[in-house]
């Protein structure tokens, strides 16, 4: 494996890893917020 190939493949793997992780966390937060906030608001009222 040449040096540049190693660098490109590393960035590709890490980009997917961190990108997917952030996507999953943000969608999970959005889903929980949209489900929970209206219930909380009704209970507070």
């Amino acid at each position: 494996m040449t040096g540049i190939y190693a660098a490109v493949s590393t960035y590709a793997i890490l980009s997917v890893m961190i990108g997917v992780y952030i996507y999953l966390k943000l969608t999970s937060l959005a889903k929980l917020t949209s489900e929970f906030e209206p219930i909380k608001r009704i209970e507070e009222e």
Partner: protein, 237 residues
């Protein structure tokens, strides 16, 4: 709360953009290193993510330590949430280091791992500990006993942080020396330093943003759980 959540989301996305920009600069703007001193000079470009990943993982393990200590001292819910956040982010950033390091090692050293190098082995142990904590947090029933055990493991793990951080100075074997801190060994080009700093700031933004996001997720889940418990109690009476 909503404002904090928005800050967390925006910081995470901004940090991610910065990290991708760092990678682009690392490939197209960063100068090449002396080909006589390295076996695979082009592979050094991995460093622009490898080092920020490593520094950020240490921050995550610090968070884990603060959470563990806080749980022991005051049995605080915040401490428990910090254990959750610290172990999850420790695993994420630790995995980044463990993936990128051996790829670089395989082209530069000819072997992906050196079992005689203290830093490599203590860091692997630290990441293994984060894997254990994340798996335990997902599989074990929540309770004081579980929290005590996992907090104790978190405290033990933190002992490895300073050992890993100074290992290249004390027992340097194959792993290159510190690059962010000025030293005789580093002597790095100003452009390389600038890109590294941008990478570190970007990853710091991702770290702070994700800390807020993950903490918010745990907060909401815990509130839902509390509501379900109160509804069950009302149903029983």
């Amino acid at each position: 709360m909503d404002v904090i959540k928005k800050i967390g989301v925006n910081l995470t996305l901004l940090g991610l953009l910065g990290a991708y920009f760092t990678a682009i600069l690392g490939f197209f703007w960063a100068p090449s290193v002396d080909p006589d001193q390295w076996n695979a000079p082009e592979a050094y470009r991995i460093v622009y993510w490898h080092v920020p990943f490593a520094w950020t993982s240490f921050l995550a393990f610090c968070l884990l330590f603060i959470g563990s200590a806080s749980w022991y001292v005051s049995r605080s819910e915040t401490g428990w949430r910090l254990i959750n956040v610290g172990s999850e982010l420790g695993l994420l950033f630790g995995a980044g280091v463990i993936i990128s390091g051996p790829i670089w090692g395989s082209v530069e050293w000819g072997v992906p791992w050196d079992w005689g190098d203290v830093r490599l082995n203590t860091y692997a142990l630290l990441t293994a500990l984060a894997i254990f904590l994340v798996m335990a947090l997902r599989s074990q029933p929540d309770g004081e006993g579980t929290r005590d055990t996992l907090a104790a493991i978190g405290l033990f793990g933190f002992v490895l942080v300073p050992i890993t951080a100074i290992a290249t100075t004390l027992w340097r074997d194959r792993h290159p020396g510190l690059v962010i801190v000025d030293s005789e060994d580093s002597g790095i080009d100003p452009e390389i330093r600038l890109i590294l700093m941008l990478g570190t700031i970007s990853f710091m933004a991702i770290f702070i943003g994700l800390t807020i996001v993950i903490d918010s997720i745990h907060r909401i889940k815990s509130e839902i759980e509390q509501q379900n418990i109160s509804k069950d109690r009302v149903g029983l009476t």
